[in-house]
Symmetry: C2
Subunit: 400 residues, 2 copies
Amino acid sequence: MTPVTYASRAARFRPSGVRSVFDIAMRPGMISLAGGSPDLAALPRDRVAELSAGLIRDRGVDALQYQPAQGLDGTIEAIREVMRAEGVEADAERIQVTAGSQLALQAIATLLIDPGDTVLAEAPTYVGALAVFGGLEAAVAQVPIDDDGIVPAALEETIARVRASGSRIPFLYTVPTFGNPSGATLSEPRRDAVVEICRREGIVIVEDNPYGLLAFDDVPRTTLYARDPENVVYLGSFSKIFSPGLRVGWLVAPPELRARAQLVIEAAIIHASVPGQLLAERFVVETDWREHVRRSTEVYRGRRDALMAALERHMPDGTSWTRPEGGFFTVVTLPPGAPTAPLLDAAIAARVVYVPGSEFMADGSRADTMRLAYSFEPEDRLAEGVRRLGDAVRSLAQRG
Amino acid sequence: MTPVTYASRAARFRPSGVRSVFDIAMRPGMISLAGGSPDLAALPRDRVAELSAGLIRDRGVDALQYQPAQGLDGTIEAIREVMRAEGVEADAERIQVTAGSQLALQAIATLLIDPGDTVLAEAPTYVGALAVFGGLEAAVAQVPIDDDGIVPAALEETIARVRASGSRIPFLYTVPTFGNPSGATLSEPRRDAVVEICRREGIVIVEDNPYGLLAFDDVPRTTLYARDPENVVYLGSFSKIFSPGLRVGWLVAPPELRARAQLVIEAAIIHASVPGQLLAERFVVETDWREHVRRSTEVYRGRRDALMAALERHMPDGTSWTRPEGGFFTVVTLPPGAPTAPLLDAAIAARVVYVPGSEFMADGSRADTMRLAYSFEPEDRLAEGVRRLGDAVRSLAQRG
């Protein structure tokens, strides 16, 4: 080829560790604690097949034609119902349908980030968000968290430090509920504090909430959006409550920002897949979707328990991990001095795969941590996977 | 809301005239010569509904789960078959599935355009491409065309002029076959010349070819990609040969560029809709898709003829238009001195809508032109639409 001259931002798009281990996870005999795939076994396959046929039979060519870029009216209504389950009453003019919440984040980031800006995010944060911010040539300042999520004093310190450096802060990106990868959840008092700090400092909050309905307890949690709908952009998704393959998500934002996000989305994809939007709508309208979510959540809770028990049993003394009250993930931290560099290789050799914690840090730190997903594998395989992982850690320690 | 500070690029995302008239086109009694929607009436609805149910019944939860970001193997094979119909044998490692060819263009442009670069394109060019280039803060230099497409000498002059200005040229974007909006097709000798000029000048060609299979004649046309697969990126789509609502398209590129485009696509949407990909695959594998395309093309040819006859009959003396040999569009140029400014309003008042030619020019020029689409309305409504349009032009001229 004629040597291609890439744009300067091109170097910022690097292969993600999550997607790389996706291929490894497909190998025969491999146990995957890596990808954040939901368990879809509980979905009524024939019923979904019938919904899928019905949407073309009933809607005809409308299901296959170009449609309005904001999203289909019925899909927006279905999203409003999901938002009600999250405790939010959202007007249709605030809702933009997207190709997964990934594109919702991409659109908002495209509108708000100039090169050289510094996005705030949790330490650690969602690897797909780091990909978006990197592609827009932003820096990322990651705010320390504990079991109760972002530490407000640390947030204030980080804001002051970034501003002292001369960099602009376009927004705080956060997964406050059942965080990815941490599994941590922002406590109610800290929700008040984080919302208040950001409002005071004039920093928009982008609240990414794909796991909010997958709670293992009955503790009520109020979205950040509900606390300050004029300063919080909410990102939602059907990926974890129904199907990630559809690639249907949404954002909720003040009307002007929503309308601008639509323009970015039109330039990227024109609009979200119509069969995907219709199938998501029918899932909400024509099935007992809350019952499906409730049953899935029961499955995830059992798996969380199985993973925790296996970690207790198989990991070396001094290993620690978060105990999530919902969602898909925990982060495991190895004891001080444990060997980390070839651990993923050793684990893969032992036929278990996970995502290294360094993937969730913009600076590649935290090599002593691992994200383990309990969403996809059944309980016995989770236990076996952690046994293999424990063996890999111990065998490396002996060699070291 | 806290006053949002938008990024500098945000101002470059402006409402598209094509999408604005989309809403107007929905009004009762309106005849739309505006949108580039394919005619889907010929699609066998029950058969497509059955394919849609079957893909979930047969593939089960795989049809609803996360899948590899390059695209499903079966979809890539189906795309290889469509490319063979275009005369191109493409290896799988060169094919990237995208959410419509819009995202293919967005991904390539993201990798190749730095702010301040100048993209080359036809005058006039696809409005959705202008949206992509604008969002990346590029300038656009539009190269004069005639009935045989890009004028090679004008291309060379434009390259020299842009370079003399100090701006870098990342690529030439072109719809060489049944162009949007022009309807013009690059002649075979000019294909050789354009490919040769760009190779010599080290300028990548991005060949957007959604209409290539919709030819009204039997003239063989070779893609630019087939002439120089190392310097041409090919953009393809199921939107015009099957269904735009699926949002499934692709790019064909040298393997390294393909792999980098995948990273941009992962950051934007993770991957294209799985039900959409599977339905496109089944359309190719399980139906006589070439026969569907042949029959649709017959319909479009009849509509082209009806539109041309109506233009001949109803438009004022001195009006000119292109005569496309395939695709969806013609560009109509009003006689010198004809009033243009409120013409769209007058047309809408007469219940016919089109896209002003200025939408297809980065500088908003060519207010004396209109893009008319004959793809969507049946022949009698095309004739009536042009009659209304002719009346609107004449009534404005009398008032002026």
